[in-house]
Symmetry: C2
Subunit: 509 residues, 2 copies
C-alpha cells in the first residue's frame, strides 16, 4: 500500500536550499593564484545564481560541462550551478595527459570547458573559459537566476572517469540522489560526523570523485569549508590548518606523510586539527602513530570511484586496528565471494573478493549498456579482503596486485606496510615480477627518509625480525629510488614499477 | 541524462541488513512485566526472522497489523517483521478510548492485533495476540524466515493516527524510504548524533510516530537501545539511566519535569546522561537549567505526526536560545506564509504560519484522496512562528491557541512560559475563554510545586515584574489544579480546560 508521504526529490537543489537559506553567515575560504578568497555562504549562493544565468546566456544550461580545475571556490560554484540547471558537471582529472583529456571530453560530449589558468590544455573544437578575474567579472554582472528546476533525483549530476593503469579511462555518473544520500551519510556521527562547528579542508581533488562529496556534506550542514587551491604543498596545508583553524581534513596517506614530515622538520604543529580522513591506500601505522602524537585522530576510509568515494569507515580508538578498512556506512551493503562467486563467511579468516551494493554504487560504465554487476546485484571491487564477524573489513590486496609465487600467494600490501614500519623508510611499494622458476617474485621499491642511510640487507633483516613472513615471501630485491611512481590520482603505479624492474634487470644483465 | 548508479531501495530491509550483519554483539534492553529482558542484535534479528515465519504461518504476511503496545523488545520485533514482509505496522495509541481504537482499526482494515496484556481492549471481529510468554514460545519454535523481499521504497511501512482534540483521528502512513531517510538524518552530528557508543532510551511512545524513529536510527548505527516498557514512572526512568548507562534519552518535557522533580526529591543523579531530546511542547527554561545543572544538554526538537516526528532541532549551547525550535534537519524545507498564503521574510519579526515540505512530510491523510498541501507543495503546520535570518524558528503559538482580545493577539505560550518560570510553579497552561466585551480573555491553570503555597495575586505580580506583558495581556483568572489535563499523546488538552473554565464560572455564578 502506498504511503501518505509527499514526493520529494533528493537533489542538488535540496542541498543548495540549505546552503542559501540556513547558514548564510558561514564562510568558504579558497586559496587561488590571486591570493586567499573568503566569502559567506550568502555571497556564494548569489554567485551560484549569477553563474547559472551566465551559463544560460552562453547556451550551456542543462548541458554537459567539463572542468579542469583545482579545489577552489570557482570550482565549487560550478559544482552547484551546473547540476542545478539539470546539466552534468564532468570533472576532468588535471593530471591526465592531454590526449586522455581529449578522449574523456569527447566521450562525455561536453559542450564547454572551464579550466584553471595554469593547466596546459588546448581544445579548439569546444568553447573554453579560463577561471580567472576576468571570468569573475563576467559572472558578477549577471542577474541572479531566479528559480531552479526540481530535477528528478535519478538524473546524473557529476561525472568522472577512473584513472586505471590499464585500458581507457571509464566514466561513471553520480546522480543527484546519490550525492544527497552519500553526503548525508558522511554527516552521521559514526561516519565523518561533519558538523556546523567544524572547519573542513577538502584536500582530495575536486577533479576526481567530487572530492569524496565532502564539499557537499560540509555545505549541507553549515561547516566552514577551506579549499586549498592549486598544487598545495605540505607547507601550504600546514599553514592553512593553522590560519583557518581546520578541524577535519581529507587527503590521501601520501599527503599526510609529507605533512607530518614537514611538521617534524620545521618544528611546526597541527594544533587545531582533530581528525584526518584518509584512504585510497592504506595509511601506514607509523603515520597514524605520528598523527596521534600531534593529537590528531585518523579516520581510515575505503572506497573507489565506482562507490562515489567513501563506502566503509574505521574510526577505531585502537590505533593497531586502524589498518582495517572498517564498517560499511549507511547506504552500503557488503559481501564476500570466492572465485566461483559463492558467498564466504565473515569469520576474519576466509579470504575472498569484496563485493558491494547500495545507494551510491555504480551498476555500469558510461556509454556502455552492459550491467557490470555480479548476479545483477553486486559490484565486484577487485579487492581481496577478510571480513570479521562484526562486519569490519580488512583489505589483503588488490586482486591484480597479489603475487603468485610457487603456487602460493604473497601479499604486496603486507610487505609494503612491514617495510614502511621501519624507522629509516619513508615510503615503499612492492610489485611482482615474472620469474621462470616461481612464476612471480616480489621486488620492493623503497624511498629512504632524508639524511639517513639504509641498505637492502638491513631491510631484509628487519623484515625477518618481525616474524611475519616466510622466507620465500621476502622480496628478492630492494630498489632504492627518490620517489614512488604514482598514477594521476595518487595510487601506486605498479605498471610503471614493473617496467622499471625490467629496465633495472636489463641494465644489470 | 541518467546516472550510472544502481537502483537501491531505501527500505526497512536495508536497515535490518545493518542490524543483523554489523553490530551482532550490541545489546537491546527491554523492561517488561516479566522483568528486564536483555539480548543482542544477533538474537533480536533471529527473533525477527522467526516472527516473520509466525506471521506467514498465520496468513498475516504482507497484511496490515495493529499493535497496542508499550516500548518493549516485542514491539520492536514487530517494527521490523511486519514491514519486512511488505505489510504495514499500524501502531495504535494505547491511550485511545476503546471506541477510538475500534474506529482506527476498522479504518486501517487491520487483519490482526498484537496487544500488551495490561491494555483493556476487546475486538471479537479480528484475530488478537497477547504479547506474553506464551506468545514468545510460539514464535521461538518457528524456522527463521529465509529471505525478505526487496520492498519498493515508496510503499507504506508504519501507520499512525493523530490524536487531535477535535474531530476523528486522521491516519498517516510513513514509507520505507521516509523511515530510512529520517533515521539517517537523526544520525547526523548536527541533529541527534546518535552513535554506536551511545546508549539510547526511547521514552516517547512507540505507539505514536514510531517513537520519533529513534529505535530505527539507534539500530541502524549500532547504539545500545533501552526500551522502558509499560507505564514508566520517573523512578523507573532514573533507575534505568543509572543501571544501563543511558547517554541520550527521548521524552516529552512533562516527563523530564517529573524526572528532575524526582531526582531533586530523592537526591538522585543522572550522571551517565549526556543529552535529552525533547519536544511536542516547548521545554520550560527552568527545566533546561535544571538539566544543565545535572550536566545534561537539552536538544529541543520540533515536529508533528505529519512530519514523522523530528523536523527541526535546536542544540544551542546558549540555554537562553533553547526555547527556539531551531533549524530544519536535512530532508526538510521550511517557509513562512501570511493568512493569504504569501511568503513572509525571515527577519525574526514577521509572524506567520510555518509551512514545511520534504522527504518525510505527509501530503494527504489515509483514506482521503485530497492533497492537503498549500500550492500543492507545502504542508501547513498550524504553528504561528517567526523565523530568524539564519533559519532558526521560534513558535509563537498554535494558530488555534492564539487568544484574540479586543482585536489584538495574546500568546498563550508566552504566558505559560512566563508563569512556569516562577519558582513556586510546577506547570501551567493558558486558554482563551469567550468574553462578551473583548471577544476572548486569557485564563491560566497552574499546578503548584508540592509543599509550597502561592496565590493568584502573587503570580500576577510576578508577571507584571517581568515587564513582558501589557496589562490587558495578563490572565483574568488563575485556577489552581492538581494536574494539567493532557491528550493521549501528552499535549495540553485545551478543549478540556475550556470546559473546566465554563464549569468553574457556572459554579461561581
Amino acid at each position: 500500500m502506498d504511503s501518505t508521504i509527499m514526493d520529494y526529490n533528493l537533489n542538488i537543489r535540496a542541498i543548495f536550499w540549505r546552503v542559501e537559506k540556513l547558514y548564510s553567515n558561514q564562510e568558504i575560504i579558497s586559496r587561488t593564484y590571486e591570493g586567499i578568497k573568503r566569502y559567506t555562504y550568502r555571497d556564494f549562493s548569489l554567485r551560484v545564481r549569477k553563474l547559472a544565468s551566465f551559463l544560460k546566456q552562453k547556451g550551456l544550461a542543462g548541458e554537459r560541462i567539463a572542468t579542469i580545475a583545482w579545489n577552489t571556490h570557482r570550482h565549487l560554484e560550478l559544482y552547484f550551478a551546473v547540476p542545478l540547471l539539470n546539466g552534468i558537471l564532468h570533472t576532468v582529472n588535471v593530471r591526465f595527459h592531454p590526449t586522455e583529456m581529449d578522449y574523456v571530453i569527447k566521450e562525455m560530449g561536453d559542450k564547454a570547458i572551464f579550466k584553471d589558468k595554469d593547466i596546459e590544455y588546448k581544445n579548439d573544437s569546444i568553447t573554453s573559459f579560463i577561471l580567472d578575474e576576468k571570468y569573475d567579472e563576467e559572472v558578477e554582472v549577471q542577474e541572479p537566476f531566479a528559480e531552479f528546476p526540481d530535477v528528478d533525483e535519478k538524473q546524473g549530476a557529476i561525472a568522472c572517469f577512473t584513472s586505471g593503469t590499464t585500458g581507457k579511462p571509464k566514466g561513471v555518473i553520480y546522480s543527484h540522489r546519490s550525492v544527497f544520500i552519500h553526503s548525508l551519510s558522511l554527516m552521521a556521527k559514526d561516519v565523518l560526523g561533519i558538523s556546523s562547528s567544524d572547519t573542513v579542508m577538502t584536500i582530495v581533488p575536486m577533479f576526481h570523485i567530487s572530492g569524496w562529496d565532502t564539499p557537499f556534506a560540509s555545505l549541507m550542514t553549515g561547516a566552514r569549508l577551506v579549499l586549498p587551491g592549486p598544487r598545495p604543498k605540505a607547507e601550504d596545508i600546514v599553514n592553512m590548518i593553522k590560519s583557518f583553524g581546520v578541524t577535519i581534513a581529507i587527503a590521501a596517506p601520501t599527503v599526510w606523510i609529507d605533512v607530518v614530515h614537514y611538521v617534524e622538520k620545521e618544528k611546526g604543529d597541527l594544533s587545531p586539527l582533530k581528525a584526518v580522513v584518509t584512504g585510497g591506500a592504506e595509511p601506514p601505522l607509523g603515520l597514524i602513530k605520528k598523527l596521534s602524537e600531534y593529537g590528531v585522530k585518523t579516520y581510515h576510509a575505503w572506497g573507489m570511484t565506482e562507490t562515489e568515494a567513501i563506502a566503509t569507515i574505521n574510526k577505531s580508538d585502537d590505533i593497531n586496528r586502524l589498518s582495517e578498512q572498517g564498517y560499511p556506512i549507511p547506504g552500503i551493503e557488503t559481501a564476500l565471494i570466492d572465485v566461483d562467486g559463492k558467498e564466504l563467511p565473515w569469520d576474519g579468516r576466509s579470504v575472498g573478493e569484496l563485493v558491494v551494493r547500495g545507494a551510491f554504487v555504480t551498476k555500469r560504465y558510461f556509454n556502455s549498456p552492459s550491467n557490470i554487476l555480479h548476479n545483477n546485484t553486486w559490484l565486484r571491487t577487485g579487492d581481496v579482503v577478510k571480513i570479521k564477524e562484526d562486519g569490519s573489513i580488512k583489505v589483503v590486496d588488490r586482486l591484480k596486485d597479489l603475487i603468485k609465487s610457487g603456487g602460493e600467494w604473497i601479499s604486496s600490501v603486507d610487505l609494503e606496510n612491514a617495510i614502511m614500519s621501519y624507522e629509516k623508510v619513508l615510503e615503499a611499494a612492492v610489485v611482482g615480477v615474472p620469474d621462470e622458476k616461481w612464476g612471480e617474485r616480489p621486488v620492493a621499491f623503497v624511498v629512504k627518509k632524508p639524511g639517513v642511510e639504509v641498505t637492502e640487507e638491513e631491510i631484509i633483516n628487519y623484515l625477518k625480525s618481525l616474524n611475519m613472513f616466510a622466507k620465500w615471501q621476502l622480496p628478492d630485491k630492494i630498489i632504492f629510488i627518490d620517489s614512488i611512481p604514482k598514477t594521476s590520482t595518487g595510487k601506486l603505479d605498479k605498471k610503471a614499477m614493473r617496467e622499471m624492474v625490467k629496465k633495472f634487470i636489463e641494465k644489470k644483465g
